[in-house]
């Protein structure tokens, strides 16, 4: 053994002992962060991001629906996503909610929950709610029953057999019926609602689940101007307490969402399965590449 190596070894040992002493001294410094207990399966947004997609690639028969898509949504953020047809917006939601497995990449909910390891219902259970492009409600059940099924409660078979609504839960459903303007239709069969009402019912069902993150695929499609305005108000009221990802084509709606509520809201433009631009709506609209592929007017 050469003297140089012995000397290096001695130095390394001194350094190691110093670090051990620093930690056991129990004092301040960055070591404290090691003491924070990370609980697997529990949503952890201490690092700021609630949704983190990295390098996600999905291909269907060689066609890349998503091409190394990376995206990060902060806790409490309202993010609008725009993009031409086929840009991969819906596929992205499919990946997040477990409907489609990506060929490559990572998807995390907070810093602890690996979405790619969970099934659809488990992802819904940890707190991601999704609204489909085409409103999907339980057509043969009443509006009330639709909300009751969505209500956060034990999802097990036996629990469902013996389930009884508590007064508190009944009040929650009542409040939700009022919020989504369906109070008078509570006992109507959901299949008989108008398109706009179905959209609202689906949003209501989503909120009954108490999700932390809401994925909304074209939430105002088929709504009247007034309904659209009310939807924008509703989403803005959720901002902060929930994180929202809104995919939309309606630029007027995007404008309403980004110009009201919290300042500095970002818009992401998807194109051919990856992020083309990201920034304030005004910046994005001024971006030449974006104008070329999408806004194009």
């Amino acid at each position: 053994m050469t003297p140089e190596l012995m000397k290096a070894g001695a130095l390394a040992k001194i350094e190691h002992e110093r670090r051990i002493a620093a930690i056991s001294g129990g004092g301040g410094g960055r070591e404290t962060s090691y003491g924070r207990i990370v609980q697997p399966g529990q949503l952890d947004v201490a690092h700021g991001a609630i949704l983190y997609l990295d390098d996600i690639t999905v291909s269907f028969d060689g066609f890349k629906a998503l091409n190394a898509l990376s995206l990060s949504i902060s806790a409490g953020e309202l993010r609008c996503i725009i993009g031409p047809n086929g840009a991969g917006k819906t596929t992205m939601m499919d990946v997040i909610t477990g409907k489609t497995r990506p060929d490559l990449g990572k998807a995390f909910f907070g810093s602890t929950i690996d979405l790619l390891r969970l099934r659809e219902n488990e992802i819904a259970d940890v707190g991601i709610g999704r609204k489909f492009q085409k409103p999907t409600v339980f057509e043969h059940l009443s509006v009330f029953e639709n909300l009751e099924l969505a209500l956060k409660a034990d999802r097990g078979v036996r629990a469902s057999m013996f389930f009884r609504l508590s007064g508190e839960q009944l009040d929650r459903i009542g409040a939700m019926l009022l919020l989504i303007h369906l109070k008078d239709s509570a006992q109507r069969t959901a299949g008989l609602l108008s398109h706009g009402q179905k959209q609202w019912l689906e949003i209501g069902m989503l909120l009954m689940q108490d999700p932390k993150l809401l994925l909304l695929d074209e939430p105002v499609a088929g709504m009247t101007d007034e309904e659209t305005e009310r939807t924008a108000e509703l989403f803005l009221s959720l901002e902060g307490s929930h994180s929202l990802v809104v995919v939309e084509h309606d630029m007027k709606f995007i404008g309403e969402l980004t110009q009201n509520g919290k300042n500095g809201k970002k818009v992401t433009v998807l194109h051919e399965g990856s992020v083309l631009a990201e920034g304030l709506l005004s910046e994005v609209q001024a971006n030449e590449k974006v104008v070329e592929v999408y806004l194009g007017r």
Binding site: K99, N121, G129, V137, S160, G174, A175, L179
Partner: protein, 372 residues
């Protein structure tokens, strides 16, 4: 929103309880008819009286009640959950075989060969019982198997099918394949269940002769009460939140998943419950009809169960029971009156129901009630 929370609930609640007062009295009437009226009319009314109910009629009604239980089971899985099974006959037959094995052992040495083994085993020159017959001399054990065998088969089959997300017509086709495969298996003598002759010529049940009027009546009453009990159980299931999840699965399964429910567990639960109900129906059928053979596992037998449910009205519970009585009642009358036309009538009936009565007989009654 605080205003809403402070005011007491203003939302009209769905009706509580599993049945309305009127339906409860109907259930009570049914119990009286089955447990009091029929026994009195059959056993205590002189045979020449106009009110006398013949043994033939009692046996026919008992048989149809067994069919009605399977139609009810079919409604749970098809009408409420949207899963069409064309293999429910196999559960019915397995329940029947479990009962049949016990009845075969009860024959004792009174068979054609006067030997303590069932005739078909003597004929095949078997010296001892196969392992499947290990507990066949115990009534309690065989009754447990009536539940366990169909339940276990349904669980294993359902688990793999639902986990692979096999749906719609593909699921129906593999259930047909399942019952067909079981039929071929039971046709073989080596399987140890009497081959294509199955089991028949029963003598006793629990040591008591099986063909006496009082025993027939006892079985009739048990069957009727089982049917009513299962109807109430099914009603309870479909009016619970569990039942609404099943209907939600039928209407929009992806939405159910994205709402956080695991459809696999719900489908598996109702599938097994349905199979067990069918198995019990089969076990009640065998001692009253006096025979069980692999014919009960034929694809056509399973399709018939679905037909009763469709004719009566899917998703109504009472409809399939009515459907079972209507189709089988018509069958027994027609096959006597115009034996050669029965199949034509059956065909015409299904075409008519499909075209004019998509909601079945119950749908017609409801439309009449609500007026034009």
């Amino acid at each position: 929103m605080s205003a809403v929370l402070s005011t007491p609930m203003a939302v009209p609640l769905p009706a509580g309880g599993i049945l309305t007062g009127k339906s409860w009295s109907a259930v009570f009437t049914a119990i009286v008819v089955v447990a009091v009226l029929v026994p009195v009319l059959n056993l205590m009314t002189p045979a020449d009286s106009a009110l006398h109910l013949s043994d033939y009629a009692v046996q026919l009604i008992a048989k149809i009640m067994c069919y009605a239980i399977s139609a009810l089971a079919m409604d749970l899985i098809w009408g409420y959950t949207g899963i069409l099974s064309l293999g429910h006959g196999v559960f019915f037959a397995l329940g029947g075989y479990c009962m049949g094995m016990y009845l075969m052992r009860q024959i004792g040495s009174d068979g054609q060969y006067r030997l303590p083994m069932p005739d078909f085993m003597v004929f095949l020159n078997w010296k001892q019982f196969p392992w499947t017959w290990a507990v066949s001399d115990s009534f309690a054990a065989q009754m447990l198997l009536v539940v366990l065998v169909p339940g276990l088969l349904a669980f294993v089959f359902g688990f793999f099918a639902f986990r692979s997300r096999i749906k719609g017509v593909y699921f129906s086709i593999i259930t047909q394949a399942m019952t067909y495969a079981a039929m071929l298996l039971f046709f073989r003598n080596e399987t140890g269940f009497g081959g294509n002759n199955g089991f028949t010529d029963f003598k006793r049940i629990l040591g008591t002769p099986i063909a006496t009027p009082s025993m027939r009546m006892l079985l009739f009453v048990i069957t009727g009460l089982t049917l009513i009990g299962f109807f109430l159980l099914a009603k309870w299931l479909v009016t619970s939140k569990f039942g609404r999840v099943l209907q939600a699965i039928r209407d929009a399964e992806t939405r159910v998943m994205f709402t956080g429910y695991d459809p696999l567990r719900y489908k598996l639960a109702i599938w097994v419950i349905s199979a067990v109900m069918c198995g019990i129906a089969g076990a009640l059928y065998v001692p009253q009809v006096g025979i069980i053979n692999p014919g009960e596992m034929s694809p056509a037998a399973s399709i018939e169960i679905a037909i009763w449910a469709a004719v009566g009205g899917r998703g109504t519970l009472i409809g399939p029971i009515i459907g079972a009585f209507f189709v089988n009642g018509a069958k027994s009358w027609f096959t006597q009156a115009f034996p050669e036309f029965w199949l034509y009538f059956l065909g015409a009936l299904f075409i008519a129901v499909t075209i004019f009565l998509p909601q079945g007989i119950i749908g017609l009654v409801r439309r009449k009630k609500e007026g034009p």
